[in-house]
Amino acid sequence: MDESEFEDIYRAHRDSVYRYARLLTGSPEAAEDIAHECFLALVKGNFQAGRSGARAYLLGAARRQAFKRYRGLEREVELVEVVAAPSGESDLPAAVAAAVAALPPLQREAMLLFSWEGFSLEEIAEMTNAEVGTIKSRLSRARETLRRTLAPYREYVGGTNGTVA
């Protein structure tokens, strides 16, 4: 893989890998360390850019790194902050991130990969070494939790674009 090819892959997937690692670990510093290791592994592992799934490869590597660093990863978030009266629309990303970060790690991971990274259930199952049914179950439980914790932000649904899709 030449340098320009590597740089293209890096620029295309840097933010996804960083966000994924940060949601799994809860730490910006750990997320950068993990992203750094994943991209270097891409080079040292002689990954062929022609093969499909550089993003899946990188996120799979990030997943292994994150779980290796943080066994039994759990993130305690003060849900009181999330369900408090919203102080402004600019709080919405922080509130959503906090709500997702408060989910159990495997549900959090499924939500990120499905809702924000756009992977299919089958792809997520392959990346996480789980059954498709298990992924569906994790997503279902995660969404059920988020429907409750983000209920105070219902007004932003209508206010953002005027109508609910």
Binding site: E3, F6, E7, Y10, R14, D15, Y18, R19, R22, L23, P28, A31, E32, A35, H36, F39, L40, V43, L92, P93, A95, V96, A97, M111, S115, W116, R143, E144, L146, R147, R148, L150, A151, P152, Y153, R154, Y156, V157, T160, N161, V164, A165
Partner: protein
């Protein structure tokens, strides 16, 4: 409070997607890792040597060692002189101490 509907949750997830970005330090770390400085290679680099090359070098070393060991030392026969006087002298241990 009534939970959100699925479509409402989808909107919030879309609008509330985290836009986190890493620091510029990550770019420097990753790209310098791809482009190591020349002297770093002397310290941390490695080369891949094919096994046949290693075997060939080893066999060549063995052959060289063997060739060194079996080469006869140069001896100048002209330096040899016959013994002029051959007397057997018995020395007892007590004589040696005196």
């Amino acid at each position: 409070m009534e939970p959100l509907r699925d479509d409402e949750l989808d909107v919030l997830l879309r609008e509330g997607e985290p836009r986190w970005r890493p620091s510029p330090r990550l770019d420097r770390r990753v790209m310098s890792g791809y482009r190591p400085r020349p002297w770093e290679w002397l310290w941390r680099g490695s080369v891949r040597v094919p096994v046949p090359v290693i075997l060939g070098l080893f066999l060549a070393f063995l052959w060289w060692q063997r060739a060194r060991g079996t080469a006869p030392a140069e001896i100048d026969m002209n330096q040899f002189r016959p013994v002029e006087q051959l007397e057997i002298k018995l020395v007892r241990s007590g004589d040696a101490k005196r």
